[in-house]
Symmetry: C2
Subunit: 415 residues, 2 copies
Amino acid sequence: MKNLAEMGRSAKKAAENLALASSGEKDRGLAAIAAALRAHTEELLAANGRDTASAAEGGMSRSLLDRLTLDEKRIEDIAAAVEEIIALPDPVGQVDQGSQRPNGLSITRVRVPLGVVGIIYEARPNVTVDAAALCVKSGNACILRGGREAIETNRALAALMDKALEEAGFPAGAVQLVTDTSRESAQEMMRANGLIDVLIPRGGAGLIKAVVENSTVPVIQTGVGNCHVYIDSPCDLAMGVRIIENAKCSRPSVCNAAETLLVHREVAEKFLPAAKEALDRHGVQLRGCPHTRRILGESVRPATEEDYAAEFGDYILAVRVVDSLPEAIAHIRKYSTGHSEAIVTSDYGHSQAFTRQVDAAAVYVNASTRFTDGGQFGLGAEIGISTQKLHARGPMGLAELTTTKYIVLGSGQIR
Amino acid sequence: MKNLAEMGRSAKKAAENLALASSGEKDRGLAAIAAALRAHTEELLAANGRDTASAAEGGMSRSLLDRLTLDEKRIEDIAAAVEEIIALPDPVGQVDQGSQRPNGLSITRVRVPLGVVGIIYEARPNVTVDAAALCVKSGNACILRGGREAIETNRALAALMDKALEEAGFPAGAVQLVTDTSRESAQEMMRANGLIDVLIPRGGAGLIKAVVENSTVPVIQTGVGNCHVYIDSPCDLAMGVRIIENAKCSRPSVCNAAETLLVHREVAEKFLPAAKEALDRHGVQLRGCPHTRRILGESVRPATEEDYAAEFGDYILAVRVVDSLPEAIAHIRKYSTGHSEAIVTSDYGHSQAFTRQVDAAAVYVNASTRFTDGGQFGLGAEIGISTQKLHARGPMGLAELTTTKYIVLGSGQIR
């Protein structure tokens, strides 16, 4: 296997080329990738079969095994996702501001690619193609490091993409896979200043924390979501039930799912039993504050500090009754990871206070937190959801994979 | 002295308040700062006198001592700079994109403050006020850590600003100074995740490198500039002489000054003697490649690898003759710090190739690199010049001290 320094140099060369490629050229490269995915479905399934066989042998849980498994339909979906990326507008070259200065200098700020993007992720092989396609479209080379469990599948996917891009006229190295899945190879990527321009970790809280703490390469932190739904007084209680049911149960494993329900004291007696009925149908386990347990009964398990801080990613929901809107906001300030936070209210002033005072990537009034997603926000495919404040916040589309450059055209101006 | 954790908590409280303050309220706070600076000029001069006395005793160089010294005019200039910041538009609350989604959700992305900004800087006391004023205007609290040499002046300035803000109705803690100027206090700021939202180092290459390598708090890297001026063939040679003279000599210590001159072989015989004549008038020492020395004579000292990589910050200029535009671009790719790069050319295609292929915060055609500056670019005062690609690139004004938040208004939408 090539070492990271070699990969980095080859990625840098490819990045110089990709940065100058026209949208048409990049789209042809992506079309070649989609075609290759379809043409090599059998090979990909064979490689994936090797991964799933060793994962099953190693005792991987059913839900993880399901994430890892490809079939013909999933490969077709991955190819179709590449075609959706082709259809998105190219951010490179867009002018985001410009002016003529009093001394006659013409200054424009244009979007340019970041360069070489490193992505460290876990089991799902579709990320390998999604991430590579978003990088190609935005003119970046990428160095991908997926999980050990998916190594055979990822090898096959990366080889196929690199070959498709070469056949479409791009230099080798535009899409590369780190095949060493040891902890050391991830560490090496985190210290690859000068070779990797930005590192994006995608996966569980542990992975993201490790990257943030150890990387000297600039990082975009994604995805940990301890999201809250707050049921205010007054509000449409039936709407509140629909929203918490959707936010908790429509896909509990994702980062925009709700983890804690906050309820205003004045509506708790009416709201909590109705919410419990809806959540019971999905088998949601509640963990409540003392007030919640007085209303719903002792069968509800008590909530601990850890429960309020947890991203369960499962059919578990912490519940707390609060005395006021400020108390709800204070709870959110204390436990929120800054992902998505919602209020259900019919009071205009409360909606204003909540959206202004809650500090998160996305703040909702009367809607489910589940909408925090590039597709739902109209940005197209996303490379992740940033929960940091620098560079990008919330769903990151193609524009977030670019930086800017000032171009200053003069006629001999000096200062 | 308070410890950093206490300062961070108090800054966070102040930041919550500042984030909700109206532009009018923030401007009144800034006006109070400007007034206090003028009212307490004598106290400030006394504090500064203690700093300059110990610096002179300690053998500080004249140019550094000059940077450290305040007088009545400099204090007036600092107060006037605060008033210029008052006059700038408030970025907070600006909506930078928005749409109505097919399901009726209204999504807007609004600018919000970053929260608590940490700034680590060196000797100049005007940075203390500039940085604080930019943070207040953009709704951020700040924790400032200046150099040991300016500690008495900074103490006086910070106390005066905090008091002025309190009198204008802001809670204490909006502007705080770390009075422990040991290496440990800087290290502690770099690890203050959860207390400091972003860290901005301002100073020499050593400081910036230390912060980038050791900080787990997100960093905006500023300022190191190894800038090039490339004299192309064909070009207006007299314009080339004016531009390199200005880029090198108008203020050699700043980051947008030129450090290396590249000259196309075809024009070198004519250009180099003319450039040398102009540069000689400023006492610039040239360090040349063998070709340069054949033209200008053996009295020109040979340039080493280190010279091409250096940010001299002084009346020294490395010179290299290149065979072609691609060779000039390759040299810049190898040695550039990505700050400001200029071509002097009369060829349209060459200007296009240079601006597209050179990867830097600001790329110039036929103008001096010295224009890379918030004021010159029309952004108003700047907190620094970013040479990184994430979040901000080039001069950073008020907008770069903000992040965004998606506000999603619904009527019961679920997914």
